[in-house]
Subunit: 276 residues, 2 copies
Amino acid sequence: MNRTQLVDQIQQKKNYLCVGLDTDITRLPKHLQSHSNGVFEFNKAIIDATKDLCVSYKINTAFYEAIGIKGWEALEQTVHYIPGTHLKIADAKRGDIGNTSAQYAKTFFEIYGFDAVTVAPYMGEDSIRPFLDYEDKWTIVLGLTSNKGSKDFQQLITKAEGTGESFFYNAVMNKVALWGTPDNLMFVVGATKAEQLQSIRHTFPDYFFLLPGVGFQGGSLEEVSKAALTKDGGILVNASRAIIYAGKGENFAEEAAVVALGYAQEMKQLLLNPSA
Amino acid sequence: MNRTQLVDQIQQKKNYLCVGLDTDITRLPKHLQSHSNGVFEFNKAIIDATKDLCVSYKINTAFYEAIGIKGWEALEQTVHYIPGTHLKIADAKRGDIGNTSAQYAKTFFEIYGFDAVTVAPYMGEDSIRPFLDYEDKWTIVLGLTSNKGSKDFQQLITKAEGTGESFFYNAVMNKVALWGTPDNLMFVVGATKAEQLQSIRHTFPDYFFLLPGVGFQGGSLEEVSKAALTKDGGILVNASRAIIYAGKGENFAEEAAVVALGYAQEMKQLLLNPSA
């Protein structure tokens, strides 16, 4: 999916919601716990109930890997089930030396058919390039993350050529932005940090940001939207647990849709009246 | 496997070689290319031929993921085939927010039964803790990596509380060392950088280092050993492509063993005469 297609979806639906499928097999509703393919059945119901209320799905690979090969089967079925209109993100946080990153890029873009994959930048250019080399695919590099640990390293003061002193995450984003373009590169920017988000948007007016952390992690949709929305949308706001675990019973998908609808309605307002 | 067991293996064998199973399905010898389970058959032969010449195997997960579910099956078979005497490393470079890292830790330590997993530090403490929480398991955190891209971010000058100005990788290693101990934490230190390795060993006298980069990536076994060997051994030197692709034909495993034997003999000398 290229940028024009993504922006079209956002404009048509007036929506920039990404639903995070962090499907934990130990948290399935009772009636799915004994199902031979409970994780996929759960995802299928969530997708059916929310696809009109979002433009993207993000599959957190860890939850699938943690149940072994069965998990990869559920992941594969899930990504194939997501409609072609929706940006399919593998939240995999991969990154290794060049020849290894090339294998990861192949895994997510070719084998499973994702549109985008999250990448950790620690190992530098050759760890990121193999992902960027794919046409009409997206590399989503970690900038400032939403977790407590983001202060440990991302927010250390760092000297980088050309930009002087800045937070380490700024140095990372400045350099990574030289390797990609707003057509193939996005950044993860933690939605729990609206004040920093505004300054990051100022520095990177043209890049899409994937904003996890709304909902369970405590980020405010209104605040982060006001800080980072652009005329193209320019953000994908992810909510995972707040949506998929909204209900615990047989009607979990309907309850997920209610929460997703709440986000969708708020997003519509924010897109129509960005400064309200 | 705990530290005493690992050190015993190194002392008994007079060997600190880790064989990297970066098994690329497109590089299998001809006679295995049409085999229904070629990757495992390849690994099995390599393990049979090299197990007396090394103390550890490192499985680079990317090469298995890149062939889909069949790859995970081969990975699972391989890790079960590695003898219990050998440290089994998942070279997976994982790391995410706490609840997600917990899933990755479960994946590699519980589901597949690895002894160790490599972890990327970008997301900070809560991304690393879940791995460290496992008893008799090892978390191997990226310090200074062996690739060209290590200069992009790892070698930026950074200010950190307590330690003043240092390379970013130093700031990372200093802080991560506070979270683990030499009994559950190792660092990846690129074996292509012998001069930096010496200074890192000086700062961290008690930690095991995993040194990739010998062989194909150009690191010198003698130089890195002299820079970082301790009385406990204290290093695991990994070679992947230089060993497993030493031969291209039906006798690939014998040719791999010849290269591994070369490393093993050199290691024995270096352990017996560390200052020679």
